[in-house]
């Protein structure tokens, strides 16, 4: 091997090794590929229809010509030939496959220095209702009045500080950022020895950060620490729902850390395991892999998504001694998100096309809204929500948006809509702002979105 070949091997390997290879969420890729397949099918159908239309037209022309020929004997020879030609050149089936529509490409948003104001906000529509703003890839914060939209960091798992002034954002490490301007305040090594990525993190009301890395390790730290303290491991797999998973959560009083995985693992604030007996669940089948635990406001119940084998995720509420009392929310399958009402009486269950509320005391469910392709829901109190669409391109809010006016939904079929989509939305502890994680997805831009009436 020559020197140049040796050097190429070394340098190509080093250069490739510097690339961050964390795969973006799979679901938007799948959704887009499905949409394109359907688009091709439609195009094929349209092509066949076109051929049929041509055939019918030519037949009519031929029939007219024949009638005309019979009425005009002088031209009969030429006319007969034309008729035969017309009728015999019609292909019975399309001989060439219709070309699919050209794949849409969207210029990738240029990287924006952090923090920044919104680069493109104005969209026009004849509809007088409020307009939306588009946001490119990144972590964004916006007031509930739609004002002060700003980019504060890169895409990553994140959590609000208890006072709402900072955000912990996990990229290759955990950065503590100012929620006001995105300024980096400190960093914490998330997995000093293994280099594993952060799968989820949360910030307790008592100021303790807890996170789980993709190797299942659980660590705690305070915002001023340089590295986390290893607490234990949880059985995998983590994040069975991919980007939809909203990982681990501290209980409202900061005394318990809920770690999803294979079953549910609870740790106390000192890192000791707390017994959980979900095997004794009253559910009609094992809880299976879990994700997205959410604590009731009083901390005495925890709802989560459980997925056993190939069955779609379902919602389960655990409570009681050793968390052994389990109630499966009836009629749910393929649940995407859970959220407690602020009074803790109801659990909002977001499925692909509807939001239901489950009255925990009565054990009854009510459909609150039916819409397409929801990805998540954040209750605002007083019976209002903010929702965001799965696979939606992005928008957030104009100054005239009135979030307390009701449910917000996109007005376009979400899975055909590309550009950027919301992965997570988290309300600040003071309830005045939202953080939004906007993940990239290449493709065409989406139509405007507006609050539903």
């Amino acid at each position: 091997m020559s020197d140049i070949e040796r050097r190429l091997r070394e340098d190509l390997s080093a250069t490739a090794g510097a690339v961050d290879t964390l795969a973006p969420p799979f679901e938007p890729v799948l959704a887009e590929s499905t949409a394109r397949r359907e688009q091709r099918r439609s195009a094929a159908g349209a092509g066949a229809g076109l051929v049929l239309l041509v055939a019918v037209t030519l037949t009519i022309v031929a029939t007219n010509a024949r009638e005309k020929t019979e009425a005009d004997p002088e031209r009969s020879g030429t006319a007969r030939l034309a008729v035969d030609s017309a009728t015999t050149t019609i292909p019975p089936t399309p001989t060439t496959r219709p070309r699919p529509a050209p794949s849409p490409t969207t210029p990738r948003p240029q990287p924006i220095p952090s923090p920044t104001t919104v680069p493109e906000t104005t969209t026009t529509t004849t509809d007088p209702r409020p307009l939306a703003q588009r946001v490119p890839k990144g972590l964004w914060v916006v007031g509930l009045d739609g004002r002060n939209l700003r980019r504060v960091g890169e895409v990553g798992r994140y959590a609000w500080s208890p006072d709402g002034s900072r955000l912990a954002v996990a990229t290759d490490r955990i950065s503590i950022l100012s929620a006001v301007d995105g300024r980096s305040l400190s960093t914490i090594e998330s997995a000093p020895t293994s280099g594993a990525k952060v799968s989820c993190l949360d910030w307790s009301s008592t100021g303790q950060l807890g996170w789980i890395t993709t190797d299942g390790a659980v660590r705690y730290a305070s915002a001023s620490d340089r590295a986390g303290t290893f607490v234990g491991t949880v059985p995998g797999p983590l994040d069975p729902l991919g980007y939809l998973a909203d990982g681990c959560r501290w209980s409202p009083d900061g005394s318990l850390f809920a770690a999803p995985g294979d079953g549910l693992t609870l740790f106390d604030a000192a890192g000791r395991r707390v017994p959980v007996h979900t095997d004794d669940a009253e559910a009609d089948q094992p809880i299976g892999r879990t994700t997205s635990p959410v604590w009731a406001p009083d901390g005495r119940s925890i709802a989560l998504l459980g997925q056993a084998d190939t069955v779609a995720p379902k919602a389960v509420v655990l409570s009681g001694e050793d968390w052994a009392h389990a109630v499966t929310v009836p009629g749910t399958n393929g649940v995407l998100r859970l959220a407690w009402a602020t009074d803790g009486r109801k659990l909002f269950v977001t499925e692909e096309s509807r939001v239901s509320s489950f009255d925990v005391a009565r054990g009854t469910s009510t459909v609150e809204a039916t819409t397409c392709c929801l990805g998540g829901l954040t209750p605002l109190g007083g019976g209002d929500f903010v929702t965001f669409g799965q696979g939606d391109a992005v928008r957030f809010v104009s100054s005239s948006w009135q979030p307390r006016g009701g449910l917000l939904t996109a007005d376009a079929p979400a899975n055909r809509c590309e550009g950027t989509f919301f992965a997570t939305v988290r309300l600040a502890p003071d309830g005045r702002e939202l953080a939004v994680e906007a993940q990239p997805m290449a493709g065409v831009q989406c139509p405007d979105v507006r609050p539903s009436p």
């Binding site: 250069t15 490739a16 393929g334």
Partner: protein
């Protein structure tokens, strides 16, 4: 539950695709980066490649052939995009400014990327496929959609150019231009 049972085959198929995606993504984005020299373009390109691949599920039934199919799709997409003016613009930006989110590479890697930029696209791809992925000539020919003899020719011409591009500048200390 009835709904769950009905969904089961679809969920299993989706899990299979998800598994393939997660398995192939790291190598794919690295390949795309070496072919384009730009992280954002590489991520876009890989995402587009998987969208195209998964939109034609009949072509990916053989798991053994899947990695090669992904490589071929990425290589072809890289060629297509390189023909557009967009890449030229990105290349100029990359040279002139430090872009937020760029891959943090050392001086040697930067020099390599600049040298690869000089190569025609197919020669660049041949270098990457040979010396990074360590593919055989037959596998390279499959990825590049050409004959094995063409692969040899592409490699030969590319190496000749790179010898010049990566040669130490006159006057430099022989040992000072490279890391040890």
């Amino acid at each position: 539950m009835k709904l769950g049972v009905e969904l089961a085959p679809r969920v299993a198929a989706t899990d299979d695709l998800r598994g393939r995606y997660l398995e192939e993504y790291p190598a794919s984005v690295r390949l795309a980066y070496l072919l384009t020299g730009d992280r954002a373009s590489a991520e876009d390109l890989v995402q587009e490649a998987f969208v195209r691949i998964f939109s034609k599920p009949r072509r990916i039934q053989d798991p053994q052939a899947f990695p090669a199919y992904v490589r071929r799709t990425i290589t072809n997409l890289a060629f297509s995009r390189a023909r557009s003016s967009r890449r030229e613009r990105l290349r100029e930006e990359r040279v002139s400014i430090s872009v937020d989110g760029e891959v943090p590479v050392d001086a040697d890697s930067r020099e390599l990327l600049q040298a690869l930029d000089v190569l025609p696209d197919r020669q660049r791809a041949a270098i990457v496929l040979r010396y990074w992925l360590d593919l055989s000539e037959r596998e390279m020919a499959d990825a590049l959609r050409c004959r094995p003899g063409t692969v040899k020719s592409l490699l030969s011409r590319a190496l000749e150019t790179l010898r010049t591009e990566l040669a130490p500048e006159p006057g430099c200390d022989a040992g000072g231009g490279r890391r040890s």
